[in-house]
Subunit: 642 residues, 2 copies
């Protein structure tokens, strides 16, 4: 009877209740991806990160042997989804640790604080002149004496109203085709929407009557992990509303290199774009509906993101981002029609991406520099953005250098046993008392589910200051009742399993991971400072950006040696500067030009091929550093503790 | 059994053999249009021009009564197609007079003569710098030290290669998406096609390897009656081939006002565009196939045409062209993608239309001014283009005025009993000997089918010089055996029905029509000259353009009072200057800019509302004119004849 028909199996995921039918033998992680179920995965399915643990409730399966599961887990049918094949209909439970609470993504740059800061550091105030503008025009109807054609009549009026200095004014053909009827029907009273595209003006649309009071746009931080959007009123320049979500591409790998590999191996570039565009459209619809704004009245989107995210968004070739010599398809992508990328705003609205510097320093960093005003300072200052990677910019109004450290996402909670993102349940503040007691705050004041970036910074800093770990990060000789031997070696219990939930520990491996991560960043800082002969005391300011949590104590960043040891008053935690930069670019063409100058003039240093980097990295693998003279305040910290 | 099904009838048109099925009761003219059969029709189907005569061979029909058919014609089943309903299957013969020989459309501006002329009058020689250019680029592949993104790498190379002075360089999003793969696959050796769009440069396409030697474009004269195209090699700037056809829109009316009315009444704007685009695509395919050029290698089309034709081509609103205050949708249409108008060249190739001055003075006239060099002369000269309308330009390098006379297409053969276009069988030269004998030449040396423009000019001039008609154009007292009484009053037989074909006459009505036509043009000239206080002796040159026939005797134009009476050496018959102008614009951006200057600076005078026009028109309704002092050479002409 010829070929045997392939058997298919149904897989039900709890607690979401999502169901998918897959061929027998399908890898469980793929089944989950197929139905859009989020599973943590750092290694992208290679079976070595141990993050994609799920519980099989019912059904037959076959798992590859792994050392990443405890005997107890194995008894409870916990498996690595990436190492497990579906052999029958199944019911699978996704553990709570995978669940993402989107209401707690760090979305705001803490406007009040940031504005005050911007007032202090940014000497340059940008003109309010959005990327897309509307102007109401009452044209004089033609007469025998003045028979100027509609197109030229409108052009003259637009030039006089908007900007007479830009030599090129373009009009889409479809707009031109509709123009005569519209002018006639409205007695020559129309509203023109004009966009600015790389030195040229373009008539985006013509509307009947006076619609010049209604014009919206969306600023976006397109992060590897989270996507944050702000709806802006382009008439007033104010933020109307904010919305965020996790980047669904997480299903294909937590870092973007993994995602590129996934896309290459599965020819899934279209899928990667669809995923990110879908997320963005979802946010747009939410913002629009909640604020009763028509999607048609959103005429522009500006995105800041790392180079890979922008490439995924636009379906530009990402494959060479991960291959020497690490080349992007485009650093400057000219404004395109948002519809061309599938973004559902006004069908002729514009999409502009903040330009990037190199394959590993994206528009999010350029936006950060713009937002902090580093580029306008006379003195040298430092910008550090810690996210899935750690990017560093050093410079002033005359020069800027940047580098990207392969820090890894430890401070975002990945690679840390109980690490998590800054969302509900995350420990965001932690103190160890002189009596050895641990106190903490969680986001949302709930039971602790894990530890986010600021909490991890506190943890390492407190463990070190209280002498529980030594300069190498190892649990020392000092006995402590909270120290124990766990599955992964020695560990320190931060939260006893006395709350309704689980015990939370920090392991020796976690600490090593975090120290490696901070060492990567600091080594990058050190390389840039040495290259430019900048001394610590030369630094006028340090801006620390990232999704650490809302209440980051910058002193801890110095204590562990993440940031250079300067006067704490000069260190500013600036939160999400990517969206702040996107917003500025959207609201001011001057800011856009400045972003382009920043991206164009910044010098990128490739650390992977830098001869001194490994040496600096090794030296920074201590708390705070091998060379204590770099951290004079160290003495105070340790003295206070001992 | 409910509604009766409507009966359909098959109509076969001979000699083409084209067949169409239409509902019973369909007007025969519409049936012909439906299948693409050309029938002359000046009145657009209103039944008063009598041009759409056909012969019914078989079948039942019902015709409205008409006075436009002779009893003999009625006996032979000749009907007016626009007044006849199809009642059964039919066979219809289209008389030979309708048949259009496209091989005889006046397509050339007679290159040799024109070039010599251009050398004489045009002081300005334009740089060869086509609207679309190709450049072969060997980019240096990226390295760790030079990791510039693909897009910027290409942009820098293009700027250095093509034009560093234009500030805006745009690249289509789809081109950008394909760029990385292309660069990688070709080892960074590519050919960029760059178009110039209203002050900005645009990357039209990127091709693999060196394709810089292959680039074609098409210059087009988009006439109301004929469409003429030239295939140009953009590498050498030479004309490769020429092809022409009749404008199929003729099926909807011979003049464009009729066509606008037809489109409005039948909501047929899309159909009007399809008709013209179809004609153009047909010509493009013919040119491409005959010269073994891929349509993909044709990267630009430049059209010169009257304002209405350009509007039809682009499906811009034409309705206000025919209504006071006579406004165009656009005089300057920015270059668009040809594909947007349905033109089948390279899918990203450009379409540019030579700008127009006003609703009744189009890009064909601007092209004519450019081609003759009127705009560069220090002395005042006159440009007269006689086609379906008669447009007049007076001016020099400092100022230009223009007007359009509603001359009617008499010199194109319409409204003249045996008038026809300058195609095979047309009498293009005619002399009346002192013995009263008539000699003539026909285009293609065939039996005469009718008389084209130059033949009509000769006819009127010869009848007048030999005293057969008087200064009012009336057949006078002088007896002549060739004078007789016809259906339409008195007529003069030019050709006896001794050849295989028909008798050819010129009627009193024809003569009146032609005199009215020339009077319209001369009145326009007079108004412009009087307004600018230009005297006949001030005129440095007169350029006469139009589809008269190849051998126009300019003296005859003065004899009948069509053109001012200046030294014949200063009068130049320049043929089709519309396509000459389109070609110049295509080959030289400098010429394009100059065309835009001409269109922008020329002053349009509306004659329909001009208080003096009717008076001048009446004065010009004499041979050569009421005021003989305007035509001092008149004495010589008449003396020579008498």
């Amino acid at each position: 009877m010829g070929k045997r028909e392939q058997k298919t199996c149904s897989v039900l995921f709890e607690p979401s209740g999502l169901k998918v039918r897959v061929p027998e033998g399908t890898i469980l992680l793929e089944a989950a991806r197929k139905v859009g179920v989020y599973l943590s995965s750092i290694c992208g399915g290679d079976g070595y990160c141990g993050k994609c643990k799920v519980v099989i409730n019912e059904g037959q399966f076959r798992s590859n042997p792994t050392g990443l599961l405890t005997p107890e887990e194995s008894r409870e049918n916990v498996v690595l989804a990436c190492q497990t094949k579906v052999l029958s209909d199944m019911i699978v439970t996704i553990p709570k640790s995978h669940a993402l609470a989107t209401d707690q993504i760090l979305i705001s740059e803490d406007t009040s604080r940031f504005s005050a800061l911007a007032g202090k550091v940014s000497e340059k105030v940008f003109d309010f002149k959005p990327l897309v503008q509307k102007t109401y025009l009452e044209l004089s109807p033609p007469t025998i004496q003045d028979h100027t054609a509609d197109h030229e009549r409108l052009n003259v009026a637009i030039r006089n109203s908007i900007d007479i200095s830009i030599p090129v004014l373009q009009m889409g053909f479809r707009v031109l085709q509709e123009l005569p009827r519209l002018l006639r029907d409205t007695d020559y009273k129309v509203t023109a929407t004009v966009g600015f595209r790389g030195g040229a003006m373009e008539v985006v649309q013509i509307e009947a009557g006076d619609r010049s009071g209604i014009n919206y746009a969306v600023a976006t931080d397109l992060g590897t992990t989270t996507i944050v959007t702000q709806l802006l009123d382009l008439i007033t320049g104010t933020v109307v509303d904010t919305e965020a979500t996790y980047n669904s591409q997480i299903n294909f790998g937590e870092d973007y290199i993994r995602r590129i590999i996934y896309a290459e191996q599965n020819d899934a570039f279209d899928q990667m774009q669809a995923s990110i565009v879908n997320d963005l459209n979802g946010l747009l619809v939410t913002l629009a509906e909640r604020n009763r704004v028509s999607l048609n009245d959103i005429t522009a989107v500006v995105c800041a993101g790392n180079t890979a995210m922008i490439h995924f968004l636009l379906n530009l070739d990402t494959t060479r981002i991960r291959r020497e010599p690490y080349v992007a398809a485009a650093s400057f992508v000219p404004p395109i029609r948002a519809a061309e990328a599938g973004i559902k705003i006004n069908k002729r609205g514009l999409l502009y991406c903040v330009p990037s510097v190199a394959a590993y320093v994206g528009g999010d960093i350029v936006g950060g520099v713009l937002a902090t005003g580093l580029n306008t300072r006379r003195d040298v200052s430092l910008f550090v953005d810690i996210g899935t990677n750690g990017e560093v910019v050093l410079g002033n109004q005359d020069w800027m250098m940047c580098a990207s450290s392969s820090a890894g996402p430890a401070f975002e909670g990945s690679g840390v046993k109980h690490g998590m993102r800054a969302s509900t349940g995350a420990i965001e503040k932690l103190r160890i008392g002189v009596d050895g007691s641990v106190s903490y705050n969680t986001i949302g004041d709930t039971c602790p589910l894990g530890i986010c970036g600021s909490g991890l910074l506190d943890t390492i800093s407190e463990l070190f200051a209280s002498g529980i770990i030594d300069r190498t990060g190892r649990f020392g000789q000092k006995p402590d009742k909270r120290l124990s031997e766990g599955d992964e070696g020695r560990q320190f219990t931060l939260v006893q399993s006395d709350c309704e939930d689980k015990q939370i520990v920090i392991t020796q491996a976690d600490i090593s991971n975090l120290i490696r991560s901070k060492a990567g960043v600091f080594a990058a800082v050190k390389i840039l400072m040495d290259t430019t002969q900048t001394k610590t005391e030369d630094l006028g300011a340090i801006y620390l950006a990232g999704g650490f949590g809302n209440y980051l104590n910058v002193q801890r960043a110095v204590t562990i040696g993440l940031l250079p040891d300067i006067d704490l008053e000069k260190i500013h935690f600036v939160g999400n500067t990517s969206i702040a930069g996107a917003k500025m670019v959207l609201l001011s063409q001057q800011a856009q030009k400045e972003a382009e100058r920043i991206a164009g003039e910044m010098t990128y240093t490739d650390l992977m091929t830098h001869p001194g980097y490994m040496d600096e990295f090794i030296k920074a693998n201590f708390l705070p550093h091998t060379n204590l003279s770099l951290f004079p305040s160290h003495k105070i910290v340790t003295q206070g503790a001992q």
